[in-house]
Each structure stands twice: as structure tokens, then as C-alpha cells.
Amino acid sequence: MVGELERLDAWAAALVQRAEARGVLLIARAQARRVRRVVVHDGRIEATSSASLTGCGIQIVDPAGHSVIASRDGLEIEPALGLVDRLVELLARADRLGIERCPLAELAPLRDRRVPVDPAAFDRIDLGAVGRRLLDLEREIAGRVPNTSVQVSYRAELDAWRVFRSDGTDVLFAAPRCNLTTRLTGRQAAARHAVSAAVFSPTPDIDDEDSTVRLFLRRAEIAARLALALPDAPPHPAGSFPLVIDYGLAKGLAHEAFGHAAEADGLRSSVLARDGRFRVGETVGADHVSVIDEPVEGDHAWQPFSANGVRRDRVVIVDHGRLCDALSDPWSAAAGGVRLTGAERSESFRHAPQPRMTNIRIEVDAPLAAPGEFETYDPLGVRELLRAAGVLRRHPRVVYLSGYAGGQVNTSSGDFVFQCKAIYTLDERGATLQRPAIFSGSMFGALGSIREAFGPLQLDAIGTCGKWGQSVPSSGGSHYFLVLEPHERVRLGGR
């Protein structure tokens, strides 16, 4: 499939030539994606599938700055040239719709290639062998925690792109994404809860990587025990409390609360902008806290170039409490008063690129020690960290939110919500499980209330971002645990 993209030199030259002849600038995106998937449940294979997606998206920009896109399955030259012609005809009707004029900023041409894995490894995946391996894993999980319904899934995806522009830009990259996920549901008749767990790797033999499989089983066991315990757990009272959040929830906080509001296509209404300009230099959080987004090779959400063929930069959104950089693209950077960071991504060749995150994290200066792996910390272990650091002297009762279960933000108001998988009350008596509740509030309140951090950075919290109806992989994290002081605009829902 990468080879298919590598053979597009003549295809691209013909498209650029046609665009020049019609007096427009061109961005051509060719994509070849292949996904292999196996699902097992209750001792049998429920689905095995292989799917591919190959096609092109053609974007043209006329001298007035009008921009339109057309897409089609396949990479044949004549239909692609036909798309250019159709788009030029469509632009003739642009005035009737009052389409906005957004001239394309002048960009430096770029020619580069990043394919960090052997694409042939994805062709060699033996789905039958994967299915047998998943059945072993499912038996192992069910054996460790009986009385749970266990579903285990394998997904291996290689997502390859080649982006051409009229100015000679030609970049090719392939992003490998493989993961094992499990969904555990308690079998109690009266009340059931479901809890999920996942691991990822850039290589398709993830199901045979010893360390990754060990981590997967450990996370699955924790999730299964939680699914069994939750029906008996009481709800937590609503209100503002001293909180501890784990790195998965910290990723959610960074992603929902700050990342989306720093996307430059939304600065005309974002709470982080004034009159459409990013509020660079203004204080938005505690001065020992930074928020950083960058592509990390080997990561689930890695993307080295943007969907417009711009190299993706490291972006320090918040630098020690002050707003610094936005996630921008060629159409939004100048208007937002920020530098171009190449942050635009698309779900597929059919979609218009949008500035958005890759791997986002919260970093805290001088984190306190938390030796060992994250998974070794059960709620009592977290409580011991807090006790040793004096947090429990400051707050005799701390609420620990564990496990990220998705979130959402309103970038206009700065209101965010996210859900955890479990709540534990930590106090002198120990750790008491309570049912999950929505964690919501103001982004400024949340970032300003971060006080301590424990442990090294752990950036493997993965998810899917659904901005503007497009799903792309997201990831990130923080130190193992963050402590948040109580804040009236940061609240837990609950009883």
C-alpha cells in the first residue's frame, strides 16, 4: 500500500499541471489505509475482518482565496483530473453561497518521507493466529477474575498518506497503530457495570510482545475487578473537593480543557482568544504547570506532517502558566496571531484538515517521586504517596479519580467535562470505592488548581478525538498522579 503511494509521481505532476492551467493552487492528498481486526468473546471468534481505504482528496484555492474540496475512491489519474475540473466549475458558484475568502499563506516547499515500520509486516498478519492468541488472552483474563464477560479485540492499522502541493511539496508518511482492547462486564444479575482497558504498539505483533501483553493482562485484571465491585459501590456526593487524578484523566484535562481551545481554527470564538487573536503571554494556570502537544514516534497518535504537507512542530500551549503557542495551520496562523505549527489532521482523504492535537501532556516542575510502574499503584498505594508527601495533613480527605472514560468541551465558554472509571475516597481509614461521576468545570480553575505531581511522565493514554465530526487517534498523559486543590469552578457530579 505504501508502494502504491510511491508510484504517484506522474499522477501528481498531471494534477499540478491541470491546476496551473485552470489558474488555481492545488493540494492533493492520497491515502492508503489498511485495517485488520479480530474480536473474541466468551471463547469464540466473533469477527475477523480486513478492510482497506484508498483514495484522493483534491483541494483547490482560487486567486480570490476561495477553497473547495472533492474526493473519490481510487487513485486513477483521469477521474482525479476530473475532480479538479469539477471544483473549478463549482467555484464559479461560490459567490452565490457567499463563501469566505481565505487566501493560502505562502509556505516553504517541503519534500520528505517518514515510514517508521516495515509495511510488509502488516501484509503478513495471520488473522487466524491472532484469533487463537486472543482466545488464550481471554481465557487468562477470565481465569484471573471469574464471573466477568470478557471481550478482547485486536486492531492493526497502517495509515499511509502522500501530500502534494502546487509549490512542489511532496511528503509521504505512514502511521502504524496497533492495539489490544478489552471490555469487561460483571455477570451479576441485579446490576452490571462495564469497564475497558487497552494497550497500543506500533508493531502488528503486539499480541506476542511479552512486555505489552503483561501490561495488557494487568490492566484487564484491574478493570475486571472494578467491573465486579462497582455495583456495590455508593455514589459520591457532588461538590468541590481536593482531588487526585491519574495520568489518563490528566490527558483528558489537557485535551478537553486546553488543547481544543488552543486550536487556531476556533480562535474567533475561543475563550483563549480575544477578537480572534490568541492571548499569548496571559496567565491561565499555576506557574509550575505547562501543557505541551507534540508528535511522538511510536505513539498511537503520531503524525509527523500535517495533512497540508507542513512539518508538525512541538507546541508549548501553556508555558509555566502562561499562554504561549496555538495549534495552527496555514489558514489560521496569521489570523490568530500565532506561528504556523503544522497541526492540521484529517480523518481521511474525504475530510477537510482541521488543526488538532496529537500527543498532549501536562508537565509539572519538580514532580515528587513515585517509584516503579504506574500499574503497581492501587488506591492504597496512591494514598501512601499522598500521606508521605503531606497532602493528607493538608486535606484529611482526598477524592481520587481513576481511569479516563471520555470527555467533551465547549471552547467558547471554557467549560469541560470528563468521566472517570472509578472514584476512591482516600483518608486515614484507607481507600473507599465509589461510583464514577462527571468531573466538570472551568479550564482556568482546573489548571490553576494543580499543586503536586507524582512520578515520571506516562504518555500512553489513548483515545479518539471527534472534533467537527472527524475521528482521529489522540493520546497523551502526564505524571502518574496530579493533586488539584479544591476550586469552586471544578466540581464532581454525583449524589
Partner: protein, 434 residues
């Protein structure tokens, strides 16, 4: 999509001889869309977009009883079918319940296509331009700070063919729009053809009135802590979707649902005894309407819950066989799902009964809830305090409770809303102002 190369390969090649049964659903669609971001129509982040898509969903039952399922793209079907069949054979697995295809059947006549929507899907802009201009006029007249939205039209053709003689081709269209004002309150419409311009304007004005109400805050004191009127959009997005997630045949078969297999057909109610939930894909020009599923199951009206009792999960061929039941209608869109109780009260009566409570217009965090337990804890930032003489301003809150307990309450009331097919719900849950 032209399936002739595929059907020829099945008929002549060695892989075809290795097949016991097969089923294909090939589709081709064209789509045109336009976005608006913060008042900018068709800018580079929400451009006018034309798209063409074609895929084939396949089910292959091999001579040894193993099955292969998946999708092929046009390239594979038209030029690489022998290789695609070889790869499918390598990926085959044992799943006896999935080894089932439909035979000949007569299909119901369902209105799915509209010529104006089809023209819009090809890039004709009249329909979109009229609506866009109406929104711009309203936004300017009422001085809203900003607005965003989307307008889309699509036309698709689908052919379902099976080895057992089923062969049906259908075509359909869709037209949809969504508008949000001030970056918050939003509404929209979708169907297989456009609503009348008067209906469009009426919906737009209702949205504008809500946005105006949300612009002023309620007095922080004086509200009740337990009475909510969930708007039909919240009912569809959370209540009905959660019920459907638990009625999914796979979830029921695998013990991942709130409901057990033995509960279906039982005389024991699981919800209040007047509650019903049914799927009717025969309704004309609805987004969720269809003549047959992608497997070739003819459309029919299906009750999922009647008198508070479980009737059937939502079942495709595989899970129908697994659970020993008949395949059902599929809830492809909310406008063919009917949810409600024995009676509905008018919206005005509900507001009288709910003084001091909250009208919840939208919630954040629906996708983060665990549907299996029914526990909910949602951020209701777009809520209006209900006063004795209309709305008394915005009250940001979180709401929490358990959905299944809520749907068993005697004091639950279904409320009719103008322009909505799903009722609102007047009920009690925990409210915490934020």
C-alpha cells in the same frame, strides 16, 4: 457500484467453487456539504465539499462452513477481485451463526428518494443557498455573537445480492442541516427530503428564542433540586440511545447488556408498564427508513419494548440465530424510532407543573456514560430555570441518577414538543448547580 466483475468471479473462478453461500451489498453514494465556522461559510476548515464513495460489504460462507466478512473498496471489486477473494479465504473463521444469507423476498414500497435532494448532492446550490441566507438574516436581525453550522445533501444507490436468489436495488437521498448560535445552543433537521421553508424557519426561530433565554443567568437561589424536563434532543441522545445500546443483539447475547436474554418475551415489566419503544423503517422520507437491510432482510415495523416489557433485541441475521429469534428492523436513525408512553401532555402544561425545575436543553458527556449500568452523571450547562411566567434564566448544573430507575417511576411524564417526533421527559433526578 457495478458488481458484475464480482459476480462473474464468483461464478467462474476456483474461489467461487469453494463457496457454499454468499451475500453482497454494494453501494455508491455522492455527497455535497458546506460548513460554517463562526460565521464564515465555506472557509478552509469547513469548505464546500463534493465526495463520491463506493464499497461492497461481503459475507462469504466457504465449503468447509467457515465464514469471511468485511468490506471491499471499488478498486478491489473492479480490478483485484481474485486477490481479494484469496485474502478473504485466508481470514475465514468458524462462526456458524453468521453463515446465513437471505433468500428471495418481496420488499415493501418505501419512499426514500427526492429529486431536489439528488440535485443538491451533485453540487446544485439553490437549496443550501436559500437556507444559508435565511440563517444569516436571522443572526443579523437578532444580533447573535456568532454561529456555526453545516448543510449536506447525499444520494446513494445500493444493490443487495445473495446466492439464495435475493437481488434488490434501491436508491435514496438525504438532506440535513445543523445550526448552533453563540457557540452553544444548536438544532437541526435531517430527512430524505427537505422540510418546507416554513417549517425550516419555525425551527430556526425556536432555536433563536432558546439562545436568547440562555443569554441571561437565573437567580442562584430559589430553584428546586430534583425536577427536570429533558428536551426531546436530550431524550434521543441519551435516553433512547442508552436503551438501544442495551437492546443491541450482540450486547444481549454476550451478557454486556443491562437486559438478559430470558427477559425478552417475559411478562415481567422492566420499565414502567406504559412505555414502548419501536422501530418503523416504513415511514416515508425518514432518514432511518429503508426497504431492506444490507443483509437483505425486508423492512418491517418492529416492537422492541411494549407495555414496559422486553419484546425483542435489535437483531441482524447472526444474532437472531444465536438467540433463537427473528431478525428485526434496524434503528438506522432516530426519526424511525418511536419512544413514549400511553399519553403525552402539552409542553405548556409541563412547564406549569415544573415551576422551579430545569428545562435541560443539552448535556455534555453522554458518550462517557456506562450504558450497561444506566448510572448517569452529566453536565447540563444549557439548562433553563422554569419560572411561573416562562423561563427565568440559565442555570448551569450537573444532573445524576440512574436511567432505569427513572424509567420505572410512577411520576414520569411524557411531554409533546412542537416540531419533535420524540417526547420530552418530565421527571426527577439529582440536580447540582455549578
Amino acid at each position: 457500484m457495478d458488481l458484475s466483475a464480482l459476480l462473474e468471479a464468483i461464478g467462474r473462478g476456483p474461489r467461487g467453487a469453494d463457496l457454499r453461500a454468499w451475500s453482497f451489498a454494494g453501494s455508491v453514494s455522492r455527497r455535497a456539504s458546506l460548513g460554517v465556522k463562526d460565521g464564515q461559510a465555506g472557509n478552509a476548515h469547513a469548505p464546500f465539499t463534493l465526495g463520491e464513495t463506493s464499497t461492497v460489504h461481503y459475507l462469504l460462507v466457504w465449503s468447509d462452513g467457515r465464514v469471511s466478512r468485511g468490506t471491499w473498496e471499488r478498486r478491489q471489486v473492479e480490478r483485484e477481485i481474485d486477490r481479494a477473494l484469496d485474502e478473504a479465504r485466508l481470514a475465514a473463521y468458524d462462526d456458524p451463526d453468521a453463515a446465513r444469507v437471505c433468500g428471495r423476498a418481496s420488499l415493501p414500497v418505501v419512499a426514500l428518494h427526492d429529486a431536489a435532494a439528488a440535485r443538491a448532492a451533485l453540487g446544485e446550490v439553490t437549496e443550501i443557498a436559500d437556507r444559508l441566507n435565511a440563517v444569516r438574516e436571522m443572526v443579523a436581525r437578532r444580533s447573535f455573537r456568532t454561529w456555526s453550522g453545516s448543510f449536506a445533501a447525499a444520494e446513494g444507490m445500493t444493490r443487495v445480492v445473495t446466492s439464495q436468489g435475493f437481488d434488490a436495488a434501491t436508491s435514496g437521498t438525504s438532506l440535513s442541516w445543523h445550526v448552533s448560535l453563540n457557540g452553544e445552543s444548536g438544532d437541526g433537521y435531517g430527512a430524505r427530503r427537505a422540510e418546507t421553508h416554513a417549517e425550516f424557519l419555525a425551527r430556526l426561530e425556536r432555536l433563536a428564542a432558546i439562545a436568547d433565554d440562555l443569554a441571561r443567568d437565573a437567580d442562584p437561589d430559589g430553584g428546586r433540586d430534583d425536577l427536570v424536563l429533558l428536551h426531546p434532543r436530550v431524550v434521543e441522545a441519551y435516553v433512547v440511545e442508552t436503551l438501544l445500546a442495551n437492546l443491541d443483539g450482540a450486547a444481549v447475547a454476550h451478557g454486556q447488556s443491562h437486559f438478559d436474554r430470558h427477559g425478552f418475551g417475559s411478562d415481567t415489566p422492566v420499565l414502567r408498564e406504559d412505555i414502548e419503544l419501536l422501530v418503523d423503517p416504513l415511514l416515508p422520507h425518514r432518514l432511518g427508513s429503508y426497504a431492506c437491510t444490507g443483509e437483505g432482510v425486508p423492512a418491517s415495523r418492529t416492537a422492541l419494548v411494549e407495555r414496559g416489557r422486553l419484546v425483542s433485541p435489535v437483531l441482524d441475521l447472526k444474532y437472531a440465530r444465536r438467540l433463537g429469534l427473528e431478525p428485526t428492523a434496524q434503528p438506522y436513525a432516530m426519526d424511525t424510532v418511536r419512544f413514549g408512553g400511553a399519553e403525552q401532555i402539552p409542553n405548556s402544561d409541563a412547564l406549569d407543573r415544573a415551576v422551579g425545575g430545569l428545562l435541560v436543553l443539552s448535556v455534555l458527556g453522554i458518550h462517557t456514560q456506562d450504558p450497561t449500568s444506566g448510572d448517569f452523571s452529566l453536565s447540563a450547562q444549557q439548562s433553563l430555570r422554569i419560572g411561573p411566567r416562562g423561563f427565568a434564566g440559565r442555570q448551569r448544573s450537573t444532573i445524576s441518577g440512574n436511567l432505569f430507575e427513572l424509567l420505572r417511576r410512577d411520576d414520569l411524564v411524557f411531554v409533546a414538543f412542537e416540531g419533535e417526533t420524540t417526547p420530552g421527559l418530565l421527571t426527577r433526578c439529582r440536580i447540582h448547580p455549578t
